[in-house]
Symmetry: C2
Subunit: 389 residues, 2 copies
């Protein structure tokens, strides 16, 4: 009893492309693996048993290109029908890397979406240009820091936020470990910190933004984000690894919010663990954050407490900023143990369109320095002007 379908499958025949790095013993082996991926990521069914030629021709992926990448690796570009993604980010992720996330020796290097597939996605609401406009900062890297450590009360964090804003930081985010703990409830923290930053802004005439962490249980994210806005938040911090990439997309699309979103990589790192598996840094921090609507993506810069290489960081910049249809470029945010002593190097590496995130080192005061002065020094270093001290 072969499977009979009374309905004739009808598709646009438009396709989107994904490029994978495959570990293989030979070109023939690489081609066999690429063909397995064509089936695995679509029909997940033995080729010989497919019910009809329309499914074989219309649904199964096709190998558009296969090129040696050196050292026992091949790069295969596979094209999938746009209809397979069904206009939803969750299902697009599934076609790109669902089942093969379980395999070793295959890594998603990049993907490209035609305008028809991008149509339902709005991407970043601000992006680099929009965030610069909101801050009124056009000619230097943006400065970012985090309210920490966990364990401080809302009152103490607000006092810190005030000093950081006075010192000229552009974006002050919650540490990503601040959620809604009993020792630091969300509502009180956001109200106090937003008020403190607004007070500092009145004194400086600047437009520093406070970004509370709205990573939360699935059924509380929207409510927490909307409440944050009511309480005066200037943006949002969100961890898509903890709460889901599409939850980020839903935040970015929420018409009741008009706030830039900063993506934090907590829990998502394993997905880029490579070099032979997972997602490329470009895809994870660039393409997917942009598609989901982040305006900036935090990642660990090389040489800090984490192990990303300079090449991987450059790959992230590509994913954040190169052409991606209608989607605006977003800020790369190198972080993870950055220090004032490295700002000139970071500026040289990333250029001016970067958001520099320094946490703990802003508190490592030198003799005669206070927090406000140290922030001003950070800003002078980032802007490459004389230290105001």
């Amino acid at each position: 009893m072969p499977i009979h379908d009374p309905v004739v499958l009808s598709l646009s025949r438009e396709r989107f492309g994904a490029t994978y790095r495959l570990r293989a013993d030979s070109a023939a082996d690489a081609m066999a693996r690429a063909r397995e991926i064509c089936l695995e990521q679509t029909v997940e069914f033995p080729d010989a048993l497919l019910p009809n030629a329309r499914i074989r021709d219309g649904i199964v992926g096709t190998v558009a290109e296969l090129a040696p990448a050196g050292d026992g690796a091949w790069d295969a570009t596979i094209r999938y029908p746009v209809e397979a993604a069904g206009g939803e980010l969750t299902q697009l992720l599934n076609v790109l890397f669902g089942n093969i996330s379980l395999q070793a020796g295959v890594r998603l290097l990049d993907f490209e979406l035609p305008a028809s597939l991008l149509r339902p996605f709005h991407g970043p609401r601000f992006g680099i240009a929009g965030l610069r406009k909101r801050l009124g900062v056009h000619d230097r890297p943006l400065l970012c820091t985090a309210l920490k450590p966990m364990g401080l009360s809302p009152a103490a964090l607000a006092e810190l936020a005030y000093g950081l804003a006075l010192g000229g930081i552009d974006l002050i985010k919650d540490d990503h470990g601040l959620a809604d703990q009993p020792f630091c409830p969300f509502e009180e923290r956001v109200a106090r910190c937003a008020e403190a930053v607004a007070r500092a802004n009145r004194e400086t005439g600047e437009r520093c933004l406070y970004l509370p962490n709205v990573t939360a249980p699935a059924d509380r994210i929207q409510q927490r984000a909307r409440r944050a806005r009511e309480l005066g938040a200037g943006g949002l911090l969100f961890c898509p690894g903890l709460a889901g990439l599409d939850a980020l997309r839903a935040l970015a699309d929420d018409p009741a919010l008009d706030l830039p979103i900063l993506g934090h990589p907590a829990f998502i790192g394993g997905l880029a663990v490579g070099p032979d598996a997972g997602l490329s840094h470009r895809v994870l921090y660039g393409r997917l954050h942009r598609l989901a609507g982040a305006d900036a993506a935090i990642f660990p810069h090389s040489g800090g407490r984490f192990a990303y290489s300079e090449a991987e960081c450059r790959d992230i910049v590509t994913g954040c900023t190169d052409a991606m249809g209608k989607l605006a470029p977003i800020f790369p945010v190198p972080a993870g143990g950055m220090r004032l002593a490295r700002v000139a190097e970071l500026r040289a590496f990333y250029g001016v369109d970067v958001m520099l995130l320094i946490g703990g080192d802003l508190h490592a005061l030198e003799p005669g320095e206070d927090l406000v002065r140290r922030c001003r020094r950070f800003r002078a270093l980032a802007a490459d002007v004389a230290d105001p001290r």
Copy 2:
């Protein structure tokens, strides 16, 4: 200006434990790494700059145990304050493995939660016992299969579902690639397949369940799941890797639903890529699926199209079934290219408390066989009784 906090931090001093495998050059190096994790996963702040002793003693993790694990590895058990997790799954994941997901050479092997931390979590609504009761099947492995391939119309999938249910399959799930595509809209598919399975149940007197895939954009999951129930679905398929573990928790907690949930590993595989990074198989497929409320967790059994070892599969069984406070044990669901020819081996490996998932091979009919007969053969093999042919 050291950070002053006007509010005195007050904590219960109750802690939860997480065990990590660390790659290190010596015991001293392993201890140094463990201490870094204690800071990284809580305050993310230099120890020397911590504002007060209450934060150092109360918030920072503590190394409770460090033991050599052979071959340049050490196992460190770190204890964190329960308040750090704030009663939310997203923040618990963050404390367990947020920032260190970005590092190589550290893997989360297991964790243990005291009753106070488990209180807000309900876990699986059914678990092994509840699902057996709903199906009325107590003495053999459960049989599961998937409706596929993608590209078939709802009418053809319903016809398939009817045959599979007549053949005695217990749980018929959507292929995880069936979302809400134009060629197979969710509403029509669920209505037709649920009706077909109900019709077969009337003929057989059995209680086969149809589980549509409700992995969806964040703002459509609840609606799709509730609609599925109205249309007669007997359970739900959900991919926490695509839509978030806490979105699974929200589904399992939804009072308007009373349906078992089957977790599918699409996109989540990279998190267990190990052996030196990510989450252990026990944590990913066992502990976290259970905590989030799945009643069964699909994973690739060794020797199929994916590369899990037998030891990794045993580790999953441990995570699914051993004691975990009030949380019910759940079914391990070995899958990924399983064939009828391996059922006896799977039964020997997993015992009777397993859900066997066979997809494509149910369609590889032998001469004289039809789909219904092949399903009956699957059931006879699983129940270890004579083939009814």
